[in-house]
């Protein structure tokens, strides 16, 4: 079945799921796992549609983090989509900026901006830049795209919260390849040194970077030992298991005296069989036909 290259795909309707979840008290959300799964599926569809529309972008690492961010934004974090900069919000710092199609889709799903805007991704004049520009789109919190810088920023925010005795938490998502950047380890030292237990780092451990498998390009294993040797609280979790992620985030939240890292085992390209575990799908847009196939696959799950 051939798909016309200029076909415009429609961003899925998030409301039935995101609305229901966001209006539920936290205690109840635990029982809504299937809705989270459906929401994550729609977020995956949205980001793929956005990337196809843009003709470029990064599907692999967006798909691998999709469940994590769904849980983070719709279960764990204190957010206020009507007022992105609300002073009592928790902060989310995307350090692996290339996976902003995911972040944008999550934002759209939560109601920060109209989901239709996702179709402007990477286009001239769009608020949805190829890598986030928070001066254009405030809910992104920071501008990023140069890897390895997010955790330092997260630490700075967390230090300010401690100074002001505010309870806001700070989350930071990094890639496994990204951990090769020395600045990350400087920041890892800082979080531990200043006992920033309001910091929760999340590693999308999908085993792939651009040039291939992380262990082939520049090995980072054993990652849990590394974080432990840097005096962090370490939680290993399946990054595609909604309930396990909920548990992990709760556990991180209640841990005192040390920052926590969630090392999330994930599959790069998760949800789209032909993208899964393929370095080639790190930074390539699907064409219309591939997208149609991907959407069908996602629907069938």
């Amino acid at each position: 079945m051939a798909v016309k290259e200029d076909k415009v795909f429609e961003i899925p309707d998030f409301k039935p799921f995101s609305g229901e979840i966001l209006s539920a008290p936290k205690g109840i959300r635990r029982k809504m796992i299937p809705r989270y799964e459906e929401l994550a599926r729609r977020i995956r569809k949205a980001l793929l549609i956005a990337i196809q529309g843009a003709g470029s972008g990064h599907p692999g690492g967006s798909l691998s983090s999709a469940d994590i961010l769904t849980v983070l934004f719709f279960y764990e974090m204190k957010i206020n989509p009507a007022n992105a900069c609300s002073p009592d919000r928790d902060y989310f710092i995307l350090s692996k900026g290339h996976t902003c199609p995911l972040l944008y889709s999550v934002h759209a799903a939560a109601g920060y901006f109209p989901p239709g805007d996702l179709l402007t991704l990477r286009k001239f004049g769009s608020l949805l830049q190829g890598h986030p520009d928070w001066k254009k789109l405030e809910c992104c919190e920071i501008s990023c795209g140069s890897l390895g810088q997010g955790l330092s920023i997260a630490n700075g925010i967390a230090m300010a919260m401690k100074m002001d005795e505010k309870p806001n938490r700070v989350y930071c998502l990094m890639g496994d390849g990204e951990l090769q950047e020395g600045q990350v380890w400087e920041a890892v030292m800082t979080s531990a040194h200043y006992k920033l237990d309001n910091v929760c780092a999340i590693v999308d451990y999908n085993n792939l970077q651009i040039d291939g498998f992380v262990e082939d390009v520049m090995g980072i294993a054993p990652l849990d030992d590394k974080f432990r040797a840097f005096s962090w609280n370490v939680i290993k979790v399946n990054g595609h298991d909604i309930e396990a992620l909920m548990d992990a985030f709760e556990s991180a939240r209640s841990f005192r005296g040390k920052p926590t890292v969630l090392i999330c085992s994930t599959v790069k390209g998760k949800g789209v069989s032909f993208m899964e575990n393929k370095a080639d799908w790190h930074g390539k847009a699907p064409d219309a036909e591939q997208l149609a196939l991907a959407l069908r696959e996602l629907d069938a799950q």
Binding site: S56, H131, D211, V217
Partner: protein, 323 residues
């Protein structure tokens, strides 16, 4: 020839293959971008002489210096914004101060990188690199010249920065076009005004010059300043003296880059009216390369406008010279 399009990164990759064949001391390093910088071609052909350093530009630069220390000729390659900016202190202290024989390939230079947006559009490397003692800086105008420049870089003892781009751009030289490191090339003679350009802007400058001749009867000299450091003072001073006005064009911040280097030469030797076509102190944005070149004022029509204005100033000495 007119219509042939080829990315300058292709020229870099081709040169690496030639060099790899010729010289067993050539090694190539990349920071997880070998598919974009096209160093993967070298890696396939010479796996024992290619090192992927992961996403660690600082370490990559230092490692290259070590390889050079031990007699190798490393080509360190990644996106220009990261290789020049993330590893600047390493380039300064280890590579330039130590004067090691490290060749730096800065890929994806300029705004034409397109949809990736500001963070990936390298608009400051010329400024960052030319200020460093011992550094040489080359910005070739097309794929063929990039190949020649990369080959020539090996003849220079010491650090060299070569900037090239991602997008297919017009091939405006051919195999016979002379290339000499440090020597500007006059691509078009003219007597009314000179446009000095580098990289992609050389083609835009030529297009502008042609139209200016046809439409305005202006005789416009066009110089391809592929080597920005050491700068060809002679060609610049000659142009200033003979044509009395200069417009520069580069895919870079107007401040601090090639135009700025030319302005330094001009005021020291032969002050004439100038305009610097470049990016006006802004970060880039996402968009198609053509859209961006237009938005950021880098297409030939902006060069034309600058030429006409500057030519006007040349004719009105009172307004633009000392009282």
């Amino acid at each position: 020839m007119e219509n042939k399009m080829k990315a300058t990164r292709e020229g870099y990759a081709e040169a690496l293959l030639i060099l790899g064949e010729e010289n067993p001391d050539i090694v190539v390093l990349d920071a997880d971008l070998s598919k974009s910088t096209l160093t993967n071609r070298f890696a396939e052909k010479f796996p024992g002489r290619f090192f992927d350093m992961g996403i660690a530009e600082q370490d990559m630069m230092g490692t290259a210096a070590g390889l050079a220390k031990a007699g190798k000729i490393p080509f360190v390659t990644t996106y220009g914004v990261f290789v020049s900016g993330r590893a600047w202190d390493q380039i300064r202290t280890t590579v330039c101060y130590g004067c090691f024989n490290v060749k730096i390939g800065g890929a994806h230079g300029g705004i034409s990188v397109g949809p990736d947006g500001a963070t990936h559009q390298s608009l400051e490397e010329i400024a960052l690199m030319r200020v460093l003692p011992n550094m040489n800086v080359i910005v070739p105008c097309d794929a063929i010249e990039t190949r020649k420049a990369t080959l020539a870089a090996v003849e220079i003892q010491g650090p060299v920065y070569i900037r090239f781009g991602r997008e297919k751009t017009p091939v405006i030289t051919d195999e016979d076009t002379p290339y000499e490191f440090g020597k500007a090339l006059t691509f078009r003679d003219g007597s009314d005004i000179t446009v000095i350009a580098c990289g992609y802007e050389v083609g835009e400058a030529l297009a502008a010059a042609e139209e200016l001749e046809k439409e305005n009867g202006l005789s416009v000299r066009v110089i391809n300043l592929h080597t920005i450091k050491p700068i060809d003072e002679e060609a610049i001073v000659k142009a200033a003296k003979e044509t009395g006005a200069i417009v520069t064009a580069e895919e870079h911040q107007a401040a601090g880059g090639m135009g700025s280097a030319i302005a330094e030469v001009v005021v020291r030797n032969c002050p004439v009216p100038m305009r610097l076509v470049g990016i006006e102190d802004r970060f880039g944005e996402s968009g198609q390369p053509e859209e961006l070149l237009e938005e950021f004022g880098l297409t030939s029509r902006f060069i034309k406008k600058a030429v006409l204005e500057t030519f006007e100033r040349k004719k009105q000495p009172a307004a633009n010279r000392a009282v």
